[in-house]
Every structure is written in C-alpha cells, then in structure tokens.
C-alpha cells in the first residue's frame, strides 16, 4: 500500500469525522428509500409513499420536514435528562460501528486490530440506550418494550458472537481487513480465481449471523420490543419529532452496518476477483462493490421483515437458547477440527 498523501493526525481525523457524519445519515436514507418506501410499498400494496415526485424520491424530504416540524414533547413524569440522553446513546452505538467498516484497502476510518470484536462490543451499547428510553418515559408500555428489547438483545448477542467466531478461526484474525484478505487469497480446492468467500465454508455461521442480526436490529419477525399491537410503540412510544428521528436513523444505520459486516465476513468484502489485494484502484472501486453487496444483504433482511409475522416472546427465547447457540457452538467445534486437520 503506497501512501498517496500524508496529513497530520488531527487533519486526518477531522476529514474522517466529517465523512462519517455525511455517510451515516445517507446510508439510512438509502435503506429507507429503497426498501421501506419502494420495496415495502410494492410488496404490501401501500400506494402512498410510492408516488411523491419522480420515482417517489421527494417522499424522503416530505418525511424529514414533517419530523422537524413536530413539537418536542416530554411526558410530565419523565426523567428529563435520561429521556434526552437515550436516543443519543443509541445513535452513538451506530456511529461507533462505522469506525471499523472497510470499503477498500485504505478506505476505512480506523483499521482496528480487534476489528470484528470491537464491532460486537459497540453494537451492544444500543441496548443501554433502549433501556434508558423505556425507563425514563414514565410509561408502562415503554418500560415493557425496553425490557423486551434488553432480554432479546442479550439472548441474540451470544449466537451473533459465536457465529462470528467460526469466521475468525478460519481467517486467523479479528481484523476486518485481515478477514477480507484471507478470503481474497483463499482457494477453493486449489482454484483461487474468485478467492474463497467464507459463505461457502461458513454457511451455517452465515445463517446464524443473519438470524441473530435480524433480532439485534429488532426487525420483524423479532420486533416484539416495538410491537405496536401490544405495546403501542414500545420503548420509543413517548418520543416525538427529532428525538424519534434519531431512533429511526439509528435503526436503519445499524441495519446498514450489520449488512456491511455480513458482506465483509462472508461475501468477500471490497475485493474484486482479478485484482491484487492492496491494489490502489480498489480504494475507488471497493466502495461500489461493498455497496452492492450491502444492498443485497439488506434486501434479505427487509424481505424477511415484510413477509413474516411476529414471533411470540417465549418462542423467541427458546429459539435463541435451544437452537441457535448449540448450532453456533457446533460450528465452532467443526471449524476448529477442520482448521487443525487441513
């Protein structure tokens, strides 16, 4: 990797911060527009959001203006400080996730050595914000939603991390760039033309990861924390206007980040077959390839979301503890055995 330009640390950090501030809201806008407004509208015959402006693109602006106009309401009994902090904590967890997501050999905010481990750690911070929101709203429905979210996120974090372990064992590194490199230089029975995307060898881990990610993102069929038929709106029932928008942005931003993690760990990341892993051109082409893969993964997440009905709370817990975790452990054992034998 040749360094094209060297800047002082603080300038580099400033540019990266500015870029992240632009990229993260954009990613959630892309997902909302493409999947929530277009795909969901077609799949569920919701005709409204399809038709504002050319291809329905103006609907986003209409929604943004609507949210900004709304009054900022605090419930009378609410704990105001915690109530205001909660959406910020949730959004901070999303922002921290983007730090390690790579889009090219050098196109990454910070290439942390602990990579995927770090991503798992900061993604677990959002539960804290959800619990704070549920408690501070002084509303029993909000509190119930917060508790459900916490119980669910604790249960599904384990299979998520255990599924990632299989990939880590095979790639022999926690670093996300290292995982991309391991897939790019890998071979399938001696054929190295397309590398070795880990979805082939770690298909079970991929399935577990996607299911657990669905639950972590509280998307249907795992959306009991916000189940509107039972809990009105769950932990964010008392939030209005801009504060609600923060939760909304965090939800879609995190969906994008988890899709990116899945594409990096299982689909080969930014690498394009035929290029060297540290080819500088990949810094330009890589983000495009990553975006395509992310949208593909996100398509599956939202496809499931718009298709399946909600699970019951006990089914959800049973599924995590009795199915996903044993499967993930078996996957680790198998991967370990294969790693040692071959």
């Amino acid at each position: 990797m040749t360094t094209l330009l060297a800047l002082p640390y603080w300038q580099e950090t400033g540019i990266k911060l500015g870029l992240a501030l632009v990229v993260i809201p954009t990613t959630s806008l892309i997902l909302v527009y493409l999947f929530l407004f277009k795909m969901m509208a077609f799949m569920q015959s919701r005709l409204g959001p399809n038709d504002t402006g050319p291809y329905g693109t103006l609907q986003l602006i209409a929604e943004a203006i609507k949210f900004l106009q709304k009054e900022d309401i605090h419930p009378a009994q609410a704990d105001r400080r915690v109530f205001r902090m909660a959406p910020v904590v949730v959004l901070a967890s999303t922002f921290l996730l983007y730090v390690v997501l790579p889009a090219g050999p050098d196109a990454v905010v910070e290439d942390l050595d602990t990579g995927v481990f770090y991503a798992m750690a900061v993604s677990s911070l959002s539960v804290l914000g959800i619990l704070m929101a549920g408690w501070a709203s002084a509303n029993k429905y909000a509190l119930l939603g917060g508790l459900r979210a916490a119980g669910q996120l604790i249960a599904y974090e384990l299979p998520l991390i255990l599924a990632v372990m299989g990939v880590v064992i095979q790639a022999e590194t926690l670093n996300l760039q290292g995982i991309v490199e391991a897939q790019a230089t890998g071979e399938i029975f001696g054929f190295g033309g397309i590398g070795n995307p880990f979805i082939l060898t770690q298909f079970l881990a991929f399935l577990i990861f996607m299911i657990a990610a669905q639950a972590e993102l509280t998307q249907t069929p795992f959306d009991m924390p916000v189940a509107e038929t039972e809990l009105v709106g769950g932990f964010h029932v008392e939030y209005t206007g801009f504060r609600f928008l923060l939760f909304f942005m965090a939800e879609f931003g995190t969906a994008f980040a988890f899709s990116a993690l899945a594409s990096v760990m299982f689909l080969g990341g930014w690498w394009i077959p035929g290029f060297d892993v540290d080819d500088n051109i990949l810094n330009v082409l890589g983000p495009g390839v990553m975006l395509a893969k992310i949208l593909l993964v996100a398509f599956f997440i939202f496809w499931v979301r718009f298709t399946y009905p909600r699970l019951r709370e006990d089914q959800l817990q049973k599924f995590a503890w009795k199915v996903l975790i044993p499967l993930a452990l078996a996957n680790i054992v198998l991967t370990g055995i294969f790693k040692v034998v071959f």
């Binding site: 704990d79 050595d113 602990t114 750690a121 539960v127 619990l131 604790i154």
Partner: protein
C-alpha cells in the same frame, strides 16, 4: 505525550466524579448509569495505555453485558422515577473507611513498587495475537483456574435458583 496527559486528566475527572455521584445519588437507575460512565471512562483509559483488546473487552463485558443485566434486573423489580429511595445505609461510615483503607493500600503499593518509573507509551503496541499467545502459554494455569471457578459459580447459581 501532552495530548495523552490532557486526556488522562479529563477521563480521570469524569471517572472520579461519576463514581462519587454513583454513591451519593438517591435514584437507583441513576446510580447504575453513573456506574456505566465509570466503566466507560476506565475503558477509555485502557485505550490511552495502548491496551486495545482490554478496552474492547471492558465495553463488551462490563457495559454491554453486566450493566445491561443490572439495569434489566432493577427495572424488572423496582425502579421508581425521581428521588424516591433512601439508598444510603446506616453503615456508610464503615464502608467509607474500608474504601479509604483499600485505596490507601493500593496507592502505597503502587508508589512503593514503581516509584518514579514512567510508563512507556510509545513502545511496542501489544496486538490481540500477543495477548492470546500470553494467555495460552505463560498464563495457561491461572486462565484454566479462572474458567473452572466461573463454571463452579454458574452451576452454584443454577442450584440456588432452582426451586424443586
């Protein structure tokens, strides 16, 4: 070096103030949230000491798991809003004494052992692989002992919680 010292000062102030508020606040959820601030500040201090893996583990285990379970338990049982609860027990002077004694012993032993040694922060950065190599070679016996201890605690908790 200067920037590190400044951030060390800021982080230490945050940690100490949050720790004090944690034991003086009259709301149990606020106390738990101040504890989160203390643990997060400690994690940031680990980053300053170039211990990236330890810092990440701190966030994952203490904030992501332990504190979430704390809050979950508190909210599931009794978490009134406002300053409703009297949380300072009658034995707080004894507790303060024990805490001061412990702090004194730690400070004394650190000063006694290290004196005016300076921490080398621009030396080699320990990668995650180095940490795991150390754990699974030099420190394998303590590591296994701790695993067995945790397993025993886990089984003990299940036995205590079972009603039949």
């Amino acid at each position: 070096m200067v920037a590190q010292n400044i951030f060390f000062g800021i982080l230490s102030a945050i940690v100490i103030l949050s720790a004090l508020r944690m034991v003086t606040t009259r709301n149990i959820v606020h106390a738990a949230l101040y504890l989160v601030a203390v643990l997060a500040g400690l994690g940031a201090l680990y980053v300053l000491l170039t211990a990236e893996f330890v810092a990440t583990t701190q966030v994952l285990v203490y904030i992501g798991a332990v504190m979430v379970l704390f809050l979950f338990g508190i909210m599931l049982t009794k978490a009134p809003l406002g300053n409703a609860m009297e949380m300072t027990g009658k034995q707080w002077p004894i507790a303060a004494g024990v805490a001061a004694l412990l702090g004194g012993v730690i400070v004394y032993s650190l000063v006694n052992h290290f004196g005016s040694d300076r921490l080398v922060t621009d030396g080699p950065i320990y990668r995650t692989a180095d940490v795991s190599d150390e754990v699974f070679s030099t420190y394998i016996v303590p590591f296994e002992a701790v695993s067995v201890l945790l397993l025993a605690a886990l089984i003990g908790a299940i036995v205590l919680a079972r009603k039949d």
